[in-house]
């Protein structure tokens, strides 16, 4: 992996998303269709990252079981996130749930 190219490419596309919109939209607003689609970028991207990380935690093997501590902790943190909308609390309880369930599964 050429790290110089990697960082340059990532920097370019990230700045290319942030800056031109800030620069241009003041002069001409984005088309409504683009704005409508952009609204769904965060929920789609976040879920597309979360779901495989939780269901395939160790390998290419799907782990749809209570023994999968990642899945259990994700469900717990999803409930906390939904009820409280508090991101820090979600992280704390989610991490605790992961470590606790991993320990429990190791004991039983």
């Amino acid at each position: 992996m050429n790290e110089l190219l990697l960082v340059a490419g990532m920097a370019l596309v990230t700045f290319g998303v942030r800056y031109p919109v800030l620069m241009l939209v003041g002069k001409a607003p984005l088309p409504p269709a683009v704005l409508r689609a952009l609204k769904f970028v965060p929920p789609a991207v976040l879920t597309a990252i979360i779901a495989p990380a939780v269901l395939f935690p160790r390998s290419a093997q799907l782990e749809l079981s209570y023994a999968n501590e990642y899945l259990v902790a994700a469900v717990v943190s999803a409930i906390v996130a939904w009820r409280t909308r508090n991101v820090l609390l979600t992280i704390l309880i989610g991490m605790l749930a992961l470590l606790l369930w991993r320990w429990l599964m190791g004991v039983v």
């Binding site: 790290e3 340059a8 990230t14 965060p42 990252i49 779901a51 999803a78």
Partner: protein
């Protein structure tokens, strides 16, 4: 939120930094975990520092570290970065009406420093009705504080990653997932957003076996399409506008 009765550049700058403080605290663990994950994902310390300095987008940096350790090709990592950071276009579009009077020497750095955290804090400053002419100094204060903190935390994380032999055994890889779950709950507040989330999640799981980690890109595109379609099908009154200013307490 602090409002000066007689706003000055310096006062706005410090208020921006002060109001960003809770979110900076939230970003500390992610910066440290990124640094630690990067060096255990075969990214050199210099590469990890450069990524934080020049990319400055936490969630995409995490994903890039994961993709590098999974052996994904460079082009896929850059494309994934693009898709993951597309949400910043939404933030920029929301801020642009407030910043359109600024010269390029302001817009370029403020654009570079635009993060989830600064957006949340700054948009609420801009929507306050007081006529302060220095609200961009507030933006600058928020952005500089986030940026400095991110560099420092990356450095600490790199040192920690080299000192702790196996950070994954501590479940640190899960920190990003729970962070995203916390952020996701802020976005999924109506049915079209739920449709986007559900379709993207199912597609990402089904496409997990695709080569070069293409599943994330495919699932994101199909999820966005599902959201647009669901919104078009729903009666207008049933769709509440998605509040772009809600993902508080996340990585930049």
């Amino acid at each position: 939120m602090t409002i000066e009765h007689h706003p000055t550049r310096r006062g706005e700058f410090w208020n921006g930094a002060k109001d960003t403080f809770p979110l900076v605290v939230g970003a500390v663990p992610f910066g440290i975990i990124f640094g630690a994950l990067a060096v255990t994902s075969n990214i050199s310390p210099g590469g990890a520092l450069a990524m934080s300095a020049f990319v400055f987008a936490g969630s995409s940096q995490f994903i890039a570290a994961g993709l590098v350790s999974g052996g994904a090709p460079l082009l896929i990592i850059v494309l994934t970065t693009l898709v993951v950071n597309m949400r910043h276009a939404l933030y920029a579009a929301s801020l642009a009406p407030h910043t359109k009077h600024l010269p390029q020497r302001w817009l370029a750095p403020l654009g570079f420093w635009l993060t989830d955290e600064s957006f949340v804090v700054v948009i609420s400053r801009y929507t306050k009705s007081d006529p302060s002419p220095y609200k961009h100094w507030y933006f600058l204060g928020s952005a500089v504080f986030m940026y400095a903190n991110w560099q420092l935390c990356t450095l600490i994380g790199i040192a920690a990653g080299q000192a702790i032999p196996n950070p994954l055994a501590w479940g640190l890889d899960f920190a990003l997932v729970v962070t995203f779950i916390g952020m996701l709950a802020q976005f999924v507040r109506n049915r079209p957003a739920l449709a986007a989330s559900a379709v993207a999640g199912v597609c990402a799981v089904l496409a997990n076996g695709l080569p070069n980690k293409m599943g994330l890109l495919l699932a994101a595109v199909l999820g966005i399409a599902a959201g647009v379609i669901a919104e078009a099908l729903a009666p207008p009154a049933a769709v509440k506008p998605v509040d772009a200013g809600s993902p508080a307490g996340s990585a930049p």
